[in-house]
């Protein structure tokens, strides 16, 4: 979707619109810049782990929780500042929240009684609703005389009584047992289909999301990471988090090559390029679903491309299918993209890689396998994540300094949340040759560096460089500065992949010279807004925008001089001298000892000479 297409969409066809919605608790955003549009009649499911902000967002629609920033509209009507009463939504709570002193009939008629609807019409509507939720004849029961599933049915009927435009459900099946949950799920889906009410449901259960949703939005740490149809999100996730949260996934490090992706010793051919910005030779993260792995006794029996050989470490019967844990031998050189915690798999030989495999009952019947059996492993399908963050490489001059980097709040948070590999390099002085071939994000300490050092790192292949003051607290704001428009796409991708893992608000700033003509300011603003729309469409990520006047270095410095630390993200290009000059001019102050701000650089200049020769 381009910026133009986004604006051209018919507002009236939209049922719920969130625009840059942010909610903070004690300064920490729990809902962070969420922008989302839900179509009329759509069944949308917000999926996320507990504490991801999904319920807060839902309560924001109903007006039960106020928001600090942004706008919420229902059918084109701005409801941001309306009371819950005036919003005309139906809300279903996890623990039913039925009025215990009223009968089922009185509960359902509550909204109508409030609106002074005559008794005859109330009774009619009540009968109709009870039929809809399959509770006919239960009118005079008290909630205490109903089972949990029946109570939740009453709650659904009650929420629909006043014919709301929007139905909101907050973990409605969470308190029910599995069988009842399935029945109620079908009822809710059926009711929604029949009435065509726009429905927004919150859950942490991915199976529930898959079975109900027209579209799913996955939330994590207050951000809406991705939205899409269930199948699309499952097969082509854009982020590590979604890949692992929706179903099981093996994340493997690969290398982008001209014909496809290299995984260890095997090359998997792909019709489409793995990632638009993935230059051949760069490291990528691939998602391999357990059902996309083929297992046979012999290598030649594989119908798909072979990844290597190994042994079955574990076989577990799972009813309709079977789950295997296959330990692929070190010779295959498979690199997991997630950190393997030491001690989690004792006895795992170094270099070996554990793969999760699921097989259908028919497959396991055709080839029964038990722990200890030797197998060959083939790959039917893989998906390459568009994220530029494949792994972290910590670089410092002493082991102590590396450890300090690893323990810095920002690195610890990123490593913990992404589960990406952390490699360490102890090296003094400036790099020589192409040191960082293919590496993901290189992390260094910025308190003992100079712009010249940093320029040298960038030019020796550390194209994504994170400079962190080890002692600084987690940044609460991310500020993006991209003076060169041609370089901004890559920087945005990098920021989008990292910012989802820290609780920070992101703003995109443009600095125009003081006293610049109006046309120049207008152009800067237009570029910010266009970029915002593009970033939103391609990364599902919302930015705040700001045009500042003056000198870039000075303005950035004043933006960063807040009590909370800041992460400054910049794109940079050119040869060594240009890089050095730009760094010294715009962010020279960041390298002073005692600085608390971090710097994220995305370099798109010429590749190191040594590398150019190789490729």
């Amino acid at each position: 979707m381009t910026a133009g297409a986004y604006h051209a969409q018919d507002e009236a066809a939209m049922s719920i619109q969130f625009e840059q919605v942010t909610k903070r608790y004690r300064g920490v955003p729990v809902v962070n810049g969420v922008t989302l549009e839900i179509r009329k009649g759509e069944f949308f499911v917000l999926l996320g782990p507990s504490g991801s902000g999904k319920s807060t967002l839902l309560r924001g629609v109903a007006g039960l929780t106020g928001i600090d920033h942004g706008r919420i509209a229902l059918h084109g009507r701005d409801v941001t500042f309306l009371s819950p009463r005036e919003r005309g939504v139906g809300f279903v709570f996890q623990h039913y929240a039925l009025f215990r002193n009223m009968t089922v009939a009185d509960n359902i008629e509550f909204a109508l009684r409030i609106r002074n609807v005559p008794a005859v019409r109330r009774r009619e509507r009540r009968r109709e609703l009870l039929r809809l939720v399959a509770l006919e004849g239960m009118d005079e029961r008290l909630p205490s005389q109903l089972s949990g599933g029946q109570q939740q049915r009453v709650a659904v009927a009650r929420a629909l009584a006043h014919e709301p435009e929007v139905l909101l459900l907050d973990e409605p099946f969470g308190a029910l047992d599995a069988k009842i949950r399935g029945e109620l799920r079908r009822t809710v889906r059926e009711v929604q289909r029949r009435l065509g009410t726009t429905t927004l449901l919150v859950t942490h259960d991915q199976e529930e999301a898959f079975s109900l949703a027209d579209r799913i939005g996955v939330m994590h740490m207050g951000r809406l990471l991705e939205t899409g149809q269930p199948q699309q999100l499952y097969r082509q996730p854009a982020t590590r988090f979604v890949a692992t949260f929706l179903g099981a996934a093996n994340l493997l490090l690969g290398e982008a090559t001209a014909p496809g992706v290299r995984l260890g010793r095997a090359v998997v051919y792909q019709a489409r390029p793995a990632r638009n910005d993935a230059v051949a030779g760069s490291e990528v993260v691939t998602v391999v679903r357990p059902e996309d792995i083929e297992v046979t006794r012999q290598r030649h029996a594989l119908a798909s491309s072979c990844m290597g050989e190994g042994v079955v470490a574990e076989a577990a019967f799972g009813g309709g299918g079977e789950r295997l844990l296959v330990q692929v031998h070190a010779a295959a050189n498979l690199q997991p993209a997630t950190r393997q915690e030491p001690g989690l798999h004792p006895g795992l030989p170094s270099g070996a890689c554990l793969l999760e495999v699921t097989r259908t009952a028919a497959e396991s019947m055709a080839l029964p396998l038990a722990a200890g059996d030797a197998v060959a492993v083939g790959l039917r399908r893989l998906h390459v994540l568009p994220t530029p963050v494949s792994s972290f490489l910590l670089r410092a001059s002493t082991a102590q300094a590396v450890a300090a980097l690893r323990q810095s709040p920002l690195v610890a948070q990123l490593a913990g949340s992404t589960q990406a590999n952390l490699a360490e390099v102890i090296a003094a002085g400036q790099p020589a040759g192409a040191m960082f071939h293919g590496a993901g994000v290189v992390v260094v300490d910025n308190t003992d560096r100079t712009p010249a050092d940093v320029a040298a790192l960038l030019l020796h292949g550390a194209r994504r460089l994170l400079c962190v003051p080890p002692a600084a607290a987690l940044p609460r704001r991310v500020i993006i500065h991209c003076p060169d428009e041609a370089l901004q796409a890559e920087a945005m991708g990098l920021v989008a992949s990292l910012a989802g893992h820290i609780n920070a608000e992101v703003s995109f700033v443009s600095v125009v010279p003081r006293g610049a003509p109006g046309a120049e300011r207008a152009q800067a603003l237009r570029r910010l807004l266009d970029t915002r729309a593009v970033v939103r469409a391609s990364h599902g990520f919302d930015l705040r925008t700001e045009v500042l006047e003056g000198e870039a270095g000075e303005q950035l410095r004043s933006l960063a001089s807040t009590p909370e630390p800041v992460l400054l993200a910049m794109s940079i290009g050119g040869d060594r001298r240009e890089v050095e000059t730009a760094l010294a001019r715009d962010v020279g102050w960041l390298f002073a000892p005692g600085t608390r701000s971090s710097l994220l650089l995305s370099y798109s200049g010429p590749r190191p000479a040594a590398l150019a020769g190789v490729l």
Partner: protein
Amino acid sequence: MVGRSGHGGWRLREPSVLPGFSLAFGYTVLYLSLIVLLPMAALVVSAASAPLGQVLATLAEPRVLAALRLSFGAALLAASINAVFGLIVAWVLTRYDFPGRRVLDALIDLPFALPTAVSGIALVTVFAETGLVGQWLAGLGIRVAYTWAGVTVALVLIGIPFVVRTLQPALMALDPALEEAAASLGARRWQTFLRVTLPAITPALLTGFTLAFARGVGEYGSVIFIAGNLPMHTEIMPLLIIIKLEQFDYTGAAVLGLLMLVLSFVMLLVINLLQAWQRRRLGLVA
């Protein structure tokens, strides 16, 4: 140790890991007999020794009837006032957080701890016509001290902890989703309060009301100072009983005592039945 099992047998409502029914029940009976039933029986016996004519004559005394009216009327009024304002106080203490909340919370228990005579004297100094509030009220032509209004004020003071302390846990246990549900269904604030919140806390409110009322009927210490004790006007039943005792009319005192006992018991029983019915309606008891 579960008692006799089987249909209609005495036993625990639900099997528990801590049985010992027989022992606990034995102590309960003994304890209640010694502390409650025996003194009551003594009262009944001494009242019963009086000839029926004397009993009826005592009950028909205008002074007795006036005292009865004042004692029960003032206690009822005070408990009602406490039900309203105690609810507001409990609401403020549980719903909001403000500086000094803990101090205010501790203040509620003060009437429990203070000797009742002390609170009585304190009330007189404030509400007498020369007192802090009394002189201001006197300006408006309202007399509190030495009138039935003074009696009510004293009973309000000693009754307030009962209402607040029984309502607080009920308000805290109230599911906030109930009020949110009502609001999302279109109810205004007062509609939400009247239709949803109030019915949910009514059992606790009734309990508080009952306790405050029961305490008010029997209260002596704090009332006699502010009441003025004018026969036929501001004389409460407990005082009348003491007067009878001081006149060595033990039978008369016992008759009046028994009368209060019966009236209180009947009223408490009615309120308790009302509560049980309410609870059944709310589905709190299977």
